[in-house]
C-alpha cells in the first residue's frame, strides 16, 4: 500500500558510458509500499538505471538514495536491502525447490532455523508442499515464476525490482502473478517493475516512461491518460515514443 515515506530518491541521476549519456539527469521519488512502473522503449536507458538502483553499477553523478543508502558509497548495503527478479529466472534447474530457497536465503545470511520455518510457510501459501523435493527443471513454468518471485522477497527486502517478470507467461498465470505483486505491496514491500505489456502499466500506482535517457512522463495512469487525452496506456506510450522521431 502506498505511503508518504520516500524509499527511493533520485536527484539528477546521470550515467555516461564514454561520451554516451545513458541516463540524463533523472529525477524521481518512489514511495514505500508503492507499485512503481518503469517503462520505456528498448535502449531508452531503463536497464542502466535499474542497475544503479540495485547497487550493481555506480552512477556518474547525482544524489541517489535507495532504502536509506547512498548509491555511490553504500552499494553493498543497497544489495542487502533489495530483492531482484529478472525475466530469465535466476532459479537453479538442477537444484530442488527447497534447495533453491535455502541457497538464496543462505546468501542473505538468514539462520538455518528461520529458513526452515519460512520455507514451510512459503510452500504452504503457494500450495507447493508436495513439490518441495522436485527439481526446478521438472516443475511447470508458471510455478517457477511464482517461486522466483517469492524467493526474491524471501529475505523481506524493502524494495523488490522486477525486470519484465511476466514475459512469455500465459495470460492466466500473468494475472495471478499480479495478485502476488499486490499482496507484496499490501505487506509494505515497494515494487519497482518493468514490462512491455501496456495493460500491466494500468495496474501500477504510478508509471514513469523513459525516452532517450530521460524521464519523459511520470504520473498515475489516470493522470497520464488525461494529460495526453487518450483512452489507455498503450496510446500514452506510443505518443511519447513517436514524438521523438
Amino acid at each position: 500500500m502506498k505511503t508518504d515515506e520516500k524509499i527511493i530518491t533520485a536527484r539528477n541521476l546521470v550515467k555516461k558510458f564514454g561520451h554516451f549519456v545513458a541516463n540524463d539527469h533523472l529525477n524521481f521519488d518512489v514511495y514505500r509500499g508503492e507499485v512503481f512502473g518503469f517503462l520505456g522503449a528498448n535502449g531508452a536507458g531503463k536497464t542502466t538505471a535499474i542497475r544503479i538502483l540495485c547497487g550493481l553499477s555506480e552512477p556518474t553523478s547525482g544524489e541517489i538514495m535507495v532504502a536509506g543508502f547512498d548509491a555511490h558509497t553504500q552499494r553493498d548495503l543497497i544489495k542487502k536491502n533489495i530483492g531482484y527478479m529478472s525475466q530469465k529466472f535466476s532459479l537453479y534447474d538442477d537444484l530442488t525447490v527447497s534447495e533453491n530457497i535455502r541457497f538464496y536465503a543462505g546468501i542473505y545470511e538468514i539462520s538455518a532455523k528461520e529458513i526452515r520455518s519460512r520455507t514451510d510457510d512459503l510452500l504452504k501459501r503457494l500450495g507447493f508442499e508436495h513439490a518441495k523435493n522436485k527439481l526446478i527443471r521438472d516443475i511447470p513454468l508458471g510455478w517457477k515464476q511464482k517461486l522466483a518471485f517469492s524467493i526474491a522477497i524471501f529475505h523481506r527486502p524493502q524494495i523488490v525490482f522486477l525486470d519484465e517478470p511476466t514475459g512469455g507467461v500465459d495470460p492466466i498465470t500473468r494475472r495471478q502473478f499480479w495478485d502476488l505483486i499486490y499482496e507484496a505491496a499490501q505487506g509494505g514491500i515497494t515494487v519497482f517493475v518493468t514490462t512491455h505489456y501496456m495493460d500491466e502499466a494500468e495496474y501500477c500506482d504510478r508509471v514513469s516512461i523513459m525516452v532517450e535517457g530521460r524521464i519523459a512522463a511520470l504520473d498515475t495512469p489516470d493522470n497520464l491518460k488525461k494529460s495526453f487525452n487518450v483512452a489507455n496506456m498503450d496510446e500514452v506510450f506510443r505518443k511519447l515514443a513517436r514524438n521523438i522521431e
Binding site: G40, N42, L141, G168, D170, P171, I172, E202
Partner: protein, 308 residues
C-alpha cells in the same frame, strides 16, 4: 497448400513437448503460432526446419518431406531462431556476406528483398554484431534469414522483449515481405499480435487449441463479453467472482472482463448487485472480445475437461 503437418508428437524424456499437432499453411500466408513459453512453438519450428526429428507424424514444406528432403528444405527456408545466433565478432556486413556466400548468392543479387530492412542498419555496417542494440540485432538477423530469397521464412519469437512501438514496426516489415510473395510462419507470446496474422494457431502445453483467422476466433467467442469498472477495482473483482451468475472474471488493464453463465448477462441485475455492495461510478458495457479473452476461455475449457 504450402506447409502440411500431420499428427506430430515429440517428447523430451517424460515431458510431452508436442502432442498430435496437425495444420496447414497456404502459400503466401502470414501464419502465427500464439502461445506462452513451454507451449511447444520452438520444438515445432525446429522440426519444420529439419533441425529436430519428430517422434511420430510427418510434415512437408512445398511438397518436400522434412526428413527425406532436408537438404532442399534448408536451401529454401530462412530461419530466425529465438536467440540471437549471428557471429558477434563479425561486423554487420561480414555476417550478411557470410550467409549470402553459404547459400551461393551475393548481397547485391537479393538486395531488393532486404533493402527496406537493411537500410536501417547499413550506416553501422562496419560495427561488430555483438555491439548492436537489440532492435538492430533483430533487423540484422532478419536480413540474414532473407538474403538467399527463401520461399518460407520461419521466425521464432522475433518480438519477445521488444517494446510496443518497435514491435509494431517489425510486424509492418513482415507484412511487406508477405506482400512480396514470401510465406511466413512466426511465433509469439504476445496475444495482441495475433490480429496482425492472416491465420493463427493458439497453442498451450504442446497442443493446438484452435486454428482460424483472428476474426473468426474472436467471432466464435461463446458468450457476450462485458467490461466492468467501479471506483474500487480491488473489491470489484472479488464481488464479481461471487456474483451467482458469474462464468469468468479477468483483469484487463483498467477494466474487468466479465461473462455470465448464460450467453447474455442480466446487466440490470448485475448493476443492482454491485450497488448493493456499495460500488460507485459503476460502468458496465458490452465489448468485442480480443484474442487474449479467447485464449483464456480456451485454457479454462481445456483444464476443466482435463479434470473431468
Amino acid at each position: 497448400m504450402f506447409i502440411s503437418a500431420k499428427n506430430i508428437f515429440k517428447n523430451y524424456g517424460s515431458t510431452q513437448a508436442l502432442s498430435d499437432i496437425s495444420f496447414e499453411v497456404n502459400k503466401n500466408e502470414l501464419f502465427g503460432f500464439i502461445g506462452p513459453d513451454g507451449a511447444g512453438k520452438t520444438t515445432l519450428f525446429r522440426i519444420l526446419t529439419t533441425l529436430l526429428l519428430a517422434d511420430k507424424g510427418s510434415a512437408t514444406i512445398n511438397g518436400w518431406d522434412v526428413v527425406n528432403d532436408f537438404k532442399t528444405i534448408r536451401n529454401n527456408v530462412g530461419y530466425m531462431p529465438g536467440r540471437f545466433s549471428l557471429y558477434q565478432d563479425l561486423s554487420v556486413e561480414e555476417n550478411l556476406t557470410f550467409f549470402a556466400t553459404i547459400f551461393g548468392t551475393t548481397i547485391e543479387e537479393n538486395y531488393d528483398l532486404i533493402r527496406d530492412i537493411y537500410v536501417q542498419i547499413e550506416p553501422f555496417k562496419k560495427r561488430l554484431a555483438g555491439k548492436l542494440s537489440g532492435g538492430m540485432k533483430q533487423k540484422l538477423a532478419l536480413s540474414c534469414a532473407l538474403i538467399h530469397a527463401p520461399e518460407l521464412l520461419v521466425l521464432d519469437e522475433p518480438t519477445t522483449g521488444v517494446d510496443a512501438v518497435s514491435r509494431k514496426e517489425f510486424w509492418e516489415m513482415l507484412r511487406n515481405l508477405r506482400d512480396k510473395g514470401i510465406t511466413i510462419i512466426v511465433s509469439t507470446p504476445y496475444m495482441d499480435e495475433a490480429s496482425l496474422c492472416d491465420r493463427v494457431a493458439l497453442m498451450q502445453n504442446g497442443k493446438i487449441m484452435q486454428i482460424d483467422t483472428p476474426q473468426h476466433i474472436v467471432g466464435e467467442f461463446p458468450r457476450k463479453l462485458y467490461a466492468v469498472r467501479s471506483s474500487n477495482m480491488y473489491s470489484l473483482k472479488d464481488d464479481l467472482l461471487h456474483f451467482p451468475e458469474q462464468h469468468s472474471v479477468h483483469l484487463f488493464g483498467q477494466y474487468l472482463h466479465f461473462t455470465a453463465r448464460e450467453r447474455e448477462a442480466d446487466i440490470l441485475g448485475l448493476r443492482h448487485y454491485l450497488e448493493g455492495k456499495n460500488h460507485q461510478n459503476i460502468i458496465i458495457e458490452a465489448i468485442e472480445p480480443g484474442i487474449e479473452d479467447c485464449f483464456i476461455e480456451l485454457m479454462t475449457e481445456n483444464s476443466a475437461s482435463n479434470e473431468n
